[in-house]
Amino acid sequence: MSLTSNRTKHRVKPPRKGLQGDAGGFEQMWPELRDAFGEVHKKCASKLSYEQLYRKGYTLVLKKMGIQLYDGIKESESVWLKAEVLGEIRAVLAAGQFQTSSGRSENEQRIYGEEFLRIMKNTYNDYMTSMSMIADVLMYLDRVFCKDHRCPTVFSMAMGLFRKIVLEESAYPNDPVNVLRHLTDIILFQIQLERSGEIIDKSLIRQCVYMLEGLYVTDQEREEDRLYVNAFEPHFLDTSREFYKSEAERMLFESDAGAYCRIVRKRINEEQDRCRSTLSDLTTEKIVRVVENELIKNQIGNIIASPSGVRHMIDNDLFDELELIYELESRIDKRKGELKKALQKKIVEAGMEVNNAAIAASQASAAPAQAGEGGESSSRAPAEKSGSNQTVAALTWVDDVLKLKDKYDLIWQRSFDQDQDLQTALTRSFSDFINSATFPRGSEYISLFIDENMKKGIKGKSEAEIDQLLDKAITLLRYVLDKDMFERYYKKHLCRRLLMNKSVSNDVEKQMISRMKIELGNSFTVKLEAMFKDMTISEELTSGYKNFIHNMGATDPTRVDLSISVLTSMTWPLESMGGAIENSDSGGRSKCKFPPTIERVRQNFERFYSEKHSGRQLTWLSNMGTADIKAIFPKVQTKEGYKERKHELNVSTYAMVVLLLFNDLPADQRLSFETIHAETNIPKADLVRTLQSLAVSPKTRILVKEPMSRDVKPTDHFCFNEGFKSPFVKVKVGVVMAGNKVENERERRETEQKNEASRGFVIEAAIVRIMKQRKELSHQQLIAEVLSQMAAQFKPEVAMIKKRVESLIEREYLERLDGQDLPAYRYLA
């Protein structure tokens, strides 16, 4: 800057001495200041000139007499506080003490308290105003002296004096209780009054709290040293804790769970409001925690378990109360442990009830069923009836479970804020009772439910309704742990539906499959899809065969039409289709002897098939086929006259074979059971059933049995019923065991055995897969790996895995590792 070169031209005048003032020394100035401050306390400041006082302070500091000035103020203020302020407060207290001794009513006590608070507030506010004026005057002292000597400013020093001399002084001479404690007690008393519903002067208390907030325990004035936090708050929290503890006990005794929750919520809101309007925001969280602890945390278990608790609320659909419980518990426990526990217990109980009802329903009918089995074929009809009873039980069970599910879903949505944790808990509970050890039929029932709907339920329903239905089925399926068991049943039921054309809509079937694919993965549905594929191929084969015959030119009017289903034996559960009985009879699928006409068809088809696919073996499952036969019955007298009657009989393949035997027979000839058996080679059990449907059931009595009885015995004889009458042209001869019913005990055992066996293979496969990859693995790890791999399909028992490992070791897939602390295995390539 150019001016720097000119600096010598200017002369700086020395400051005149007058600026520092010339008003003499400390001894002269201090009394003037002290007197002036006294005037300030007496609210007579308007006579004083700020400038003059300020200048005195200024001068004293400049003359290095700050320390004397500071100490002087300290002393004079102490004197003022002791004499004037403490005196006034003690006077009020003394009046109060006098009243205490004479026994005060609550109201008197309250008036006294308010009086005390008012005095307290006024003195403090007055003192604060005066001190802030004095501190203003002594600004230069603050700015220079206090800063340099690192001592508290005049104002905070004065506030410290107020605490020391007024608040921490005993309330009465020689009283151990100090003024501060007294003040605290009075405020707490007022708050207690408000809690019991009275109206108090909130702003007055607020003022006193301001005071406590503005004062500090130490002179450093750190945030955590606030008098409010140190002296008042702990007492407040303690008394509140006591109060709510006793209130909790009282309320539990007096009111029901819903009312309790409402009160708790009200209390929490009240305390929050109180902190906002009467006390300090600093306390909000702490007091809310106290209320939560006393009213919720310590009692939530009792509330939930009480007779009017969660159980009662769920039973009566008290959504609002449930929501309250949820809200309260989520305040103290993010995981909502108690509510979860109660819910799970409730669901499992309700679920068990549904289970037991289903078991009871099925057992009520199982008793006659067993009697029927004992009498072999004698009481087939009631056994069947019981079977359908069981089906009803199954459907009821599914319905009930779904209802339960809907109910809890609704509660979850309306009352539980769609809480994730609770949803998992709900799901787990449902899964618990559906898979409970005492109720092994879950998978079967669900499959039956789908079966029933596929056959009848979805008739005449809109797409949306069907969608909903499928969703329900999938929801249930999600809960099932033993998915392989379900697959087995579903396959069996689906097989029946496909072969007997029972499905209402193929589209819906396919939709279901694709849903299962999404839910359970590809591997689950591969076989089911293969079944559909087989059906399509079979249709092509049938039409292909028709052309084939047509081209052969054999247009024989008596030619037998053939509609065929070629099934891949691996994918179709043929054993469970009633083949088991034959197996036990003759140790293998016995071949039924077809009459020549039919035998020709069979041979033709086999030729046709082997032309298309060489090297494939066809096995004829004659027990599963049906046939349409045109039968002509002799002339009998009818209303219209004397004429022949034609009927179309829809019968099973076996029945057709039997009936064809009578074709070549003179009208009055009889055939014995033994002869029929020998001619047809139909397994006995099947033959009994077939004959039963042909000769016993009244509507389709095409054969006449001798002697006439309900049972078919090996000694019976049969002849053609020429007098057969039916109002319909088409007659369907009932096929025994056509529908999908709940299995009886024996079938169930078989299914389970089969399932166990197939699980064995699956587990072995998994073990080999794992070991091939890892080469060596400890026993524990192996078990864990297997369990995790199997989780999607079923939950294997550890004992079973062990057995499989043993078997693999025997067959030298694995070997034990020696010299290890823990048992371990090695894979042998």
Binding site: R7, R11, V12, K13, Y50, E51, Q52, M139, Y140
Partner: protein, 130 residues
Amino acid sequence: MSEEKQTEYVTLVSCDGFEFKIKRSAAILAGAIKNMLDPNSRFQEGLTGRCEFENINGLVLDKVCEYLYYNEKHKDAKDMPDLDIPPELCLELLMAADYLNEREREKETNSMRRRYDKGRDFLATFWRFR
């Protein structure tokens, strides 16, 4: 003068009897004047709106007032023109500033005092500090 109604102008009086009527908003930029005039502290000055300074002469107070206005005008500005301060006044001005606790100048005062103590010519800085 009532305390509710604050006058727009206040009077500053020097020891040699010069009166300066300046805007209250400018005057209270100096901490001591602000306290003096604070309507809450009911000192004489607060009621009358008249402050007498027995240790500041008219010449200096004139410059103080000019400075106060200057300060108010450039309250928020970043690049402001220098305030013309005659060098012969600067020491007295400094002391007046310290006395009146003009916040803006506090820093400069301190830095100048340091330089002065070190026996260096502080004028250059004094000229530059605005």
